[in-house]
Point group: C2
Amino acid sequence: MTVRVDLNISLDGFATTTDQTPENPFGQDWGRLVAAYTATRTFRERVLGDTSGAGTTGVADRYGAEYFENIGAEIMGAGMFGLHDNAHDPGWRGWWGEEPPFRCPVFVLTNGAPRDPIAFDNGTVFRFLTASPEEALALATEAAGGADVRIGGGVDTVRSFLAAGLVDRLHVGITPILLGRGKSLWADLRGLEADCDVTSEVAESGVVHVTFTRR
Amino acid sequence: MTVRVDLNISLDGFATTTDQTPENPFGQDWGRLVAAYTATRTFRERVLGDTSGAGTTGVADRYGAEYFENIGAEIMGAGMFGLHDNAHDPGWRGWWGEEPPFRCPVFVLTNGAPRDPIAFDNGTVFRFLTASPEEALALATEAAGGADVRIGGGVDTVRSFLAAGLVDRLHVGITPILLGRGKSLWADLRGLEADCDVTSEVAESGVVHVTFTRR
């Protein structure tokens, strides 16, 4: 069982953008940050439900496909589920639509009021809990049944698992742009590479894929 | 005439390390940051004076050789010359020894007292001046006689030229380690890529070379 993280970051380390507006709910920066990933065939099929076969099939798509392989459970922060602006609505089912791409148990970390689990036909089940990284990982590991656990995001959640030494494999797709703003992945992670093998690969798009794998 | 910058940085963006001690004047972090570069044949020959042919000859050495090609003048900060701890000594000739690797006019930016130029037999001439980036570049451009000008470092000096939009080509060798401390190259450089072509290449060592070239 491997605990995995995959994130898109800018060359200056920003993993979460902060320029969202009501008119542009993802923000302009987000689109630029993830452009190579959202162009892949895997993303188009798995996240957008586009079964036409459209999309890129190079290095970015290989990482995109690996992203979904052998994941038995996922842990994410409340923001990634879309809870922050919707916690007042007991009927809110998240912003991933009726075909969330996870297709496995998803543990949503929240400090808010208890919420009932939400199950989707495709196997995605969101459960809400207030827990430490260690507690959440224990639950997710059990739910994964021997398959891998992904720490999905956002960056604060990922950083809490990295700081606790709970991540076995960290893959970042570094888009060679400088955002100059957002939430940084890297602060205070000195020495993360110490017990890891590190590989790097440049995709056709120019995105640099760096993977830290704990030995 | 191209204004060029080459820097080694960590994955979290640090270009200048800050763990120097009297016993370890470069610091432990510096050695790890530049290990692939200092192992090259070019560095060993040009900077250390080792003419035995020892050293690596792969991608890092290609960038190392390009570093010295067609440079007609260099601009550096007082710290890179070694002035900060030695400004009181009028006889101080810098920490580069009697064969400084520059072999061209070097303009050292300082807010300190005037100092006489220092000339070395190999063509290196250090001149000391208090000047804006634009003023220093005008002098260096004239001295370069049509060849390129390098902004050598340290990171504060490089950032002042980047912020002023004076750099035509920025090459960073990104060592896949997280230092978590030092001086960052990247803060407040949002959009640097906007009018640039960006290329990336992974060296045998795992260092990722990213180059921004202004169109």
